[in-house]
Amino acid sequence: MTAAVLQQAHRPPATRAQERLWRLLLLTALLGIVWLARDLRWAEVWASAGFLLSGLATSWMLALAAISLGALAAVPLALARMHAPAGLRHAVVMLIELVRATPELLVVFWLFFGLPAVTGKAVSGWTAAVAALSVIAAAHLAEVVRGGLVSVPEGQWDAARAIGLNPRQALLRVVLPQALRNMLPALIAQLVSLFKTTSLAYVVGVVEFFRAVSIVNNAVFAPYALYLTLTAGYLLCCGLLTWCLRRLDPNYLLAS
């Protein structure tokens, strides 16, 4: 958590003493918060721990499903936006821009209530939630991927072709790895924000972490303890997600 998302090469390295002092400071702050919160109604929260954890598990399942489906769709979308023939490209641009301009809540609404109204067939809340989050993820990730691809100089592509790689190899072996490194900060920010967006699944009846906290709150009325639980839950999960994604950085992989 404390490590910067981006490592800058020409920064003066931190001394070990500074590092220790910083950790001590963080620990003190954390203990201070724990001490301040000691009198809140933790018994009620603890009694519902199982329910809250199952909500958290649902959030993770939603996020992972949306990330994988979204990432699968994002690469072709980004490539189509850059290289496809005009008609297809315009359609893709239209789709991406429309999803990105629409509030997430409304995307969920359109997939859950709009789709059945058009097709006459009901979709389950879970399906609609995964579909909506995947669509949101795909649109945002497509832009991240495009940004990453644009950031790789043309010369890299030409050089890869010149040494005899076919277009697929050039893309997978040369361009994408470099693009991945350049887009990593944006990727992390996007995925963390997607994890928090899972809370909108409550609209279609899915009980994820945010809704679970809210439901418990409606039964026991312990808002302060529960919102602190909420904060801790999201901090830990988003922190974990950030930490995992940072492992993708080739710089990091080379360094370790």
Binding site: M1, V5, Q8, W22, T102, A117, F210, P223, Y234
Partner: protein, 214 residues
């Protein structure tokens, strides 16, 4: 399925009121988040050890905590009125992302630029403001457009503290008339219009920057 667009017209004053509130909230939050975020981002890219660590903590904490929690903290625990609390939550939330964008923009400038400016005899401060920041600003424009759009969309969170902005008003139409599809279409169109206005304004700024740079 029959749609009744007349309903939307009947609610025009509610919708207009909500639209105006969303617009006001967004504009104030955009200004605030830009200022605060750029400041934090500059510190993050160039400060000393403590500044770097503090700004990293700022970004990670504010980015990973849901905006609702910030809103409740401001409104129910610190006791700030609904409107300022909503603005504060929006600014704090998005400033973390803006700081990231700023830091990345500053890092994208080759270090030779800063060396050259110093060699020309500019002070550190002047070389930062006159050479580095304007160059970074150009690289920052596309991601900033995304962030500003995000502010507009996130502004709907203030309905949790009983402020009647655009999403609240469209929900009201749905509750009172059960015309959900019409209400959602209206909301989608209005939010998309705001997103487009931001994109247009930002591309104008981008062009102005390019002219200055050229």
């Amino acid at each position: 399925m029959n749609l009744d667009w007349h309903i939307i017209w009947e609610y025009r004053s509610d919708l207009l009121q909500g639209f105006v509130l969303t617009l006001q909230l967004s504009l104030v939050a955009i200004a605030g988040a830009s200022l605060l975020g750029t400041l934090v981002g500059c510190l993050r890219a160039s400060g000393g050890f403590l500044a770097r660590r503090l700004t990293a903590l700022y970004v990670e904490l504010l980015r990973n905590i849901p905006i609702v929690v910030k809103l409740f903290l401001a409104h129910f625990i610190l006791g700030i009125d609904a409107l300022p609390a909503g603005i504060a939550a929006l600014i704090l939330h998005q400033s973390a992302y803006v700081a990231d964008v700023t830091a990345a923009g500053l890092r994208s400038i080759p270090s030779g630029q800063s060396d050259a400016a110093l060699a020309l005899g500019l002070s550190r401060w002047r070389s930062f403001c006159l050479v580095l920041l304007p160059q970074a600003a150009r690289a920052m424009m596309p991601p900033m457009t995304t962030q500003y759009t995000q502010i507009v969309k996130n502004s709907s969170v203030v309905m949790l503290v009983a402020l009647q902005e655009l999403t609240f008003m469209t929900q009201r139409i749905e509750h009172e008339t059960f015309r959900g599809l019409e209400a959602a279409t209206t909301a989608t169109v209005l939010y998309a219009a705001m997103a487009l206005a931001i994109a247009a304004a930002m591309s104008g700024v981008e062009r102005a920057l390019e002219r200055r740079g050229a």
